[in-house]
């Protein structure tokens, strides 16, 4: 495997990183865990002149609780998320999603920020983060901006990150949801990309749902929210037929394609099944 030549930068602060990126423009690519970027370079899909490594920016590795929110540094590794006591206590569904991702070696390197910025529809963390209504902070030499994560993706591997920007943190707001989960269908039990996946969060009140968010992965060119299916659930009495109908609506709203992991027809069926099952799990088991 051939990694093309590049110049390497390892800034000591976010400000320095932003300055380097501002200067290099489109000649530079940000390197976090490297599990996507280096692979793309090896297979010839990416050949940046400069790599700007974030490895010294330890302040971006923190996972912390603040009034009204939980903040996850963009450099937190998948295994950091998996093992975070804080996340396990508040939103266990997120550590469990991180646990489905890859081998231990990759989970030690790969970062939540990278998983988001890479922008692929099969990413495992964006669906559950969107279900939890997360927003992201983007920092550049010109300042900072935040946006809801669900607005970040707009095409396969297409995101709204601007040249010179670094994704620095992810915020999960305190919420009324009573449960959430991420169900992924892979073709083996470990180290498998999603053939299809569904993340949900639910706010159960008595016999009905007050609020619900349903997010699909590997079901469209981007990770998508299926609001039609969500609306079908709100205010109605929870029963298996209701959840099955939501699954059906989610499948209708999905637009999977044929891939080496499964035909479009099969994947649409999986969306239906996973949505139904994820709703049941989140309703019955809380954040799990």
């Amino acid at each position: 495997m051939y990694v093309p030549d590049f110049e390497y930068h390892a800034p000591k602060s976010v400000a320095e990183a932003c300055a380097i990126l501002a200067e290099l423009g489109d000649r530079a690519t940000v390197l976090a865990g490297g599990t996507d970027v280096l692979h793309k370079m090896k297979v010839g899909k990416l050949a940046p002149e400069h790599l700007v490594s974030l490895k010294h920016l330890d302040e971006l590795r923190d996972i912390r609780e603040e009034p009204g929110r939980v903040v996850i540094g963009a450099l937190a590794s998948h295994n950091q998320i998996y093992t975070s006591r804080l996340l396990q206590r508040r939103y266990l569904s997120l550590p469990m999603a991180a646990h489905t991702m890859a081998s231990n070696q990759i989970c030690n390197l790969g970062t939540v920020g990278g998983n988001i910025v890479n922008g692929v529809p099969s990413a495992d963390l964006p669906p559950i983060l969107i279900a939890l209504n997360a927003s992201i902070r983007l920092t550049s030499a010109h300042g900072e901006r935040t946006m809801p994560l669900e607005d970040f993706f707009h095409g396969s591997a297409q995101t709204r990150i601007e040249q010179g920007e670094i994704l620095t943190e992810i915020e999960i707001p305190d919420q009324a949801s009573t449960g959430s989960t991420y169900l992924k269908f892979g073709l083996r039990r470990s180290g498998a990309l999603a053939v299809a996946a569904a993340a949900v969060s639910v706010q159960v009140a008595g016999e009905t749902l007050h609020g619900v968010r349903i997010v699909l992965a590997s079901a469209a060119p981007t990770v998508i929210r299926v609001t039609g299916a969500e609306r079908s659930l709100v205010g109605r009495r929870i029963d298996d037929d209701l959840l099955a109908e939501a699954g059906y609506l989610a499948a209708q709203a999905s637009s999977p394609r044929d891939s080496i992991r499964g035909s479009a027809e099969y994947r649409r069926n999986l969306v239906e099944v996973l949505t139904k099952r994820a709703l049941r799990k989140a309703i019955d088991e809380g954040h799990a």
Partner: protein
């Protein structure tokens, strides 16, 4: 069997265990030599193309590049593994025949420079239409992969034994099923590599090979050298499974590059290149017909197969013969017809993967047999027991079977798995299936024609008797043969395993052995080792006889002690006797060799599949199917084998687990996929889905008490036979769970889901029809209508 053995039959720790678990073990790719260069091979991006020109000048000018070679710089002699079809060249000169065919190579100061240099080699191609579908490769007008082989036929086999048509005509029930198998790849954890170096006219190659001897033979032939001037050394090796049996091209290119530069050259494949070099499982189309009597006894069988060979022969002629030759082993029937075409396609060449040609045909036959059993209303376990081969029988294709306990294996696995109970009571979505397998214990004949013994061994006892070194050409590729052979040597000598050392698989130091393939080493290498050990023991007893003043035939030696068999009293240690021998009589050495007896019939292809002994086994698997997704969960697997005397139980069960692991992958999860240009879509380990530890079910593995009279201490093979039942076992368990058959491998979740969906749709349609009929009947007020018969089992092929 009374067991008074001191060393064999015990789960001694592996002789290479500490080095491997501490990471100290050096594999070929770990080795470094002064001034060593790195070499890489440039391969074809096209499945089929004419080479118009090759310009290496820019690559040659790149700093750090020490040599660039093409077909002009290497011998043009064609090579291969099957002498009947040598069809490979070191580098292509006229055209390329698959994506990955070898075109040129470079030797550079470092690996990065190699990749830069490869990019600078300009090859001009005229792209040709490619033959990518093996089912149509023989059709008129298809692109010709090799001009010499009309209609892309690489191997054609037509064999008939007995009178098949007559037996089918007289049968109570005749059934035909067709199945399709997929391409899979061995995927050893260690990538192939070779380090080549010259000392004057002598060539030394360190190689990750399963057979130093065949490498030595083929390399000497290619470069027109005496075999004595070619030295092949196999360092530690991380798995082969048949994929490292033959020259890979790395050795040939590396040897030429090393000669030109005067420096050692390391050549190697990365994971994607391993997939392209391939030599994995052939995809196969398999039509099986059997005729049975009313009890399910098989009267005749017909196998009509087509195999996707890929662009070259590799060991594929043998694979093609094996596919049919091994089918009559587990069940007895007299009438058998086998027809086969192995065809060339513009895809990577297929070869010998664990179980060689046998696992896919076994999948087809075992699935078919369950269909027959369902037709007749016979329990799948019973139909196998009814047909089970007996010991001391001869197959219709002239294979002599000595020991054979397939019936006992079936009876035992029936009890272990709780078969009868589960067959009655498993809940909806759960199923249980059984299948059998059998395999050669070493091939009866070598790969190239020679009268050399198949195995040889020396033992050298250290001058003070505190150690003995076994020298063997056999090849430990991870299966544990070094350990097992040291146990056998110690047993034969009356010595201790803990004091054994081993030097193996170095053609200059160790005696001839054909290597690790066809499950041959415990039996064949073991036979040579036993003989060598016994020669040492004879000399020890003879020496001890003069030291003790007792007749040698009254003495015995075990666990390192020499003692009188008739009277107690004084004993001697192996060490003191060995030392005295060295002082008075010179070096204490033992030698042994093994040549199989003449085996098999005289028809064309009769040699392939012959073996001095055959292993047998039966597997039961239980699965749970998620009907909404098709996901298959393996609840448990029970395996019982007849593999003769067991030398090391732990290693034996390790082989069973490993073979099952590979068989599981082939059954449900693994498939090499190609795009419409003949490029592999999943030449990596993310989308070529090898199973992981967490996918493995609980496995219960047992052996039946068995003794093979022809083998050393009664041993037989286990390493490949345990792969043979697995695919069919899964097929049958899934059939049992769903009532519907998936007729193509892999039995993927999606195919299972689709088969269930189609079954549901058929049942709904039948229900609608029934309802409509009832309504019409109701209108006619005809109340005495019989109920509809139960739906017969459904067969679907969603491929």
């Amino acid at each position: 069997m009374s067991d008074n053995h001191k060393v064999i039959g015990r789960s001694v720790p592996r002789i290479d265990g500490p080095e491997k678990v501490t990471g100290a073990a050096k594999y070929t790719g770990d080795l470094k030599f002064p001034n060593m260069l790195y070499g890489k091979i440039l391969t074809s991006p096209h499945a089929h193309a004419r080479i118009l020109s090759i310009d290496t000048s820019a690559a040659e000018r790149l700093p750090g590049v020490k040599a660039v070679i093409t077909h002009k710089d290497v011998p043009t002699l064609k090579y291969g593994l099957s002498p009947a079809r040598w069809d490979e060249s070191i580098f292509c000169s006229d055209k390329v025949r698959f994506v990955g065919d070898k075109v040129a190579a470079v030797a550079c100061l470092d690996e990065d420079t190699c990749y830069r240099a490869l990019k600078l080699i300009k090859v001009e191609y005229e792209v040709l239409p490619a033959a990518l579908d093996f089912l149509h490769a023989m059709d008129e007008g298809q692109p010709q992969v090799h001009e010499e082989y009309a209609r892309n036929i690489n191997t054609e086999i037509h064999q008939e034994f007995g009178d098949v048509e007559k037996a089918l005509a007289e049968a109570h029930h005749v059934r035909t099923d067709t199945f399709v198998g997929q391409r899979t790849y061995q995927s050893p954890i260690e990538p192939h590599s070779a380090i080549s170096m010259w000392d004057g006219e002598k060539l030394t190659i360190y190689s990750s090979t399963q057979s130093p001897h065949y490498f030595q033979h083929y390399i000497a032939r290619e470069f027109d050298m005496p075999m004595g001037d070619v030295r092949i050394i196999k360092p530690y090796l991380g798995g082969g499974f048949g994929g490292k049996l033959e020259p890979t091209g790395l050795e040939f290119a590396g040897a030429v590059l090393a000669k030109l530069t005067g420096r050692p050259v390391r050549t190697f494949y990365d994971r994607a290149e391993m997939f392209a070099h391939n030599r994995g499982r052939h995809a196969q189309y398999m039509e099986i017909t059997t005729g049975v009597d009313k009890d399910g006894k098989i009267l005749a069988a017909k196998a009509n197969f087509i195999m996707d060979g890929g662009a070259y022969t590799s060991l594929g002629i043998a694979s093609a013969y094996y596919a049919g030759a091994l089918l009559p082993l587990t069940y007895e029937f007299d009438n058998y017809q086998f027809d086969m075409f192995r065809v060339y396609t513009n895809l990577p060449a297929c070869g010998a993967q664990r179980g060689h040609g046998a696992p896919q045909p076994k999948y087809a036959f075992e699935s078919h047999l369950d269909n027959v059993a369902a037709d007749l209303g016979i329990d799948p376990m019973d139909i196998r027991i009814i047909n089970a081969r007996r010991p001391n029988t001869v197959t219709p294709n002239d294979f002599r079977v000595n020991s054979c306990k397939i019936k006992e294996c079936l009876e035992r696995v029936r009890v272990m798995s709780g078969w009868d109970e589960k067959k009655k009571n498993l809940p909806h979505g759960r199923g249980i299936g059984v299948a059998t397998g059998s395999f050669v214990t070493g091939a009866g004949y070598p790969i190239y024609r020679t009268d050399l013994p198949h195995a040889a061994a020396f033992i050298k006892v250290c001058e003070d008797g505190t150690a003995a070194t076994l020298y063997t050409g056999s090849v430990d590729i991870g299966q544990g043969s070094d350990t097992v052979l040291c146990q056998m040597a110690a047993e034969a000598m009356g010595y201790r395993y803990e004091q054994m050392k081993i030097v193996a698989a170095d053609t200059e130091i160790t005696p001839l052995d054909f290597g690790a393939y066809a499950s041959r080493q415990t039996y064949m290498s073991g036979a040579a080792v036993k003989q060598a050990g016994e020669e040492v023991k004879r000399q020890i007893l003879d020496m001890a006889s003069s030291m003790l003043g007792l007749p040698a035939d009254d003495l015995d030696c075990g666990d390192g002690m020499i003692f009188s068999k008739s009277r107690g009293g004084k004993s001697l240690t192996f060490e003191e006797v060995a030392r005295k021998h060295f002082v008075l009589r010179g070096p204490l050495l033992g030698r042994g060799s093994y040549t199989p007896p003449k085996l098999g019939g005289s028809f064309k292809g009769a040699a392939v599949g012959t073996s001095p002994a055959y292993s047998f086994g039966a597997q039961v698997g239980e699965v749970a199917i998620d009907e909404e997704t098709g996901e298959i969960s393996v609840v448990g697997i029970w395996d019982v084998h007849d593999c003769g005397k067991v030398i090391n139980p732990r290693l034996l069960h390790g082989q069973v687990h490993g073979a099952l692991y590979m068989g599981m992958g082939e059954a449900v999860w693994e498939e090499v996929l190609f795009d419409d240009k003949g490029r592999i879509k999943n030449a990596e380990l993310a989308n070529y889905r090898l199973l992981t530890a967490v996918d493995m079910p609980p496995i219960t593995s047992e052996v039946v008490d068995s003794y093979e009279p022809s083998g050393p201490w009664g041993v037989k093979e286990v390493g490949e036979g345990a792969t043979n039942p697995t695919l069919g076992m899964f097929s049958n368990a899934i059939f049992d769970a769903m009532g519907v058959r998936v007729n193509s491998l892999p039995l993927s979740y999606e195919k299972v889901w689709r088969a269930l969906k189609e079954k549901r749709e058929r049942e709904e349609a039948a229900q609608r029809e029934q309802d409509a009929r009832r309504e019409a009947q109701g209108r006619r007020a005809d109340a005495q209508r019989e109920t509809d018969p139960a739906l017969p089992p459904l067969y679907a092929n969603p491929a």
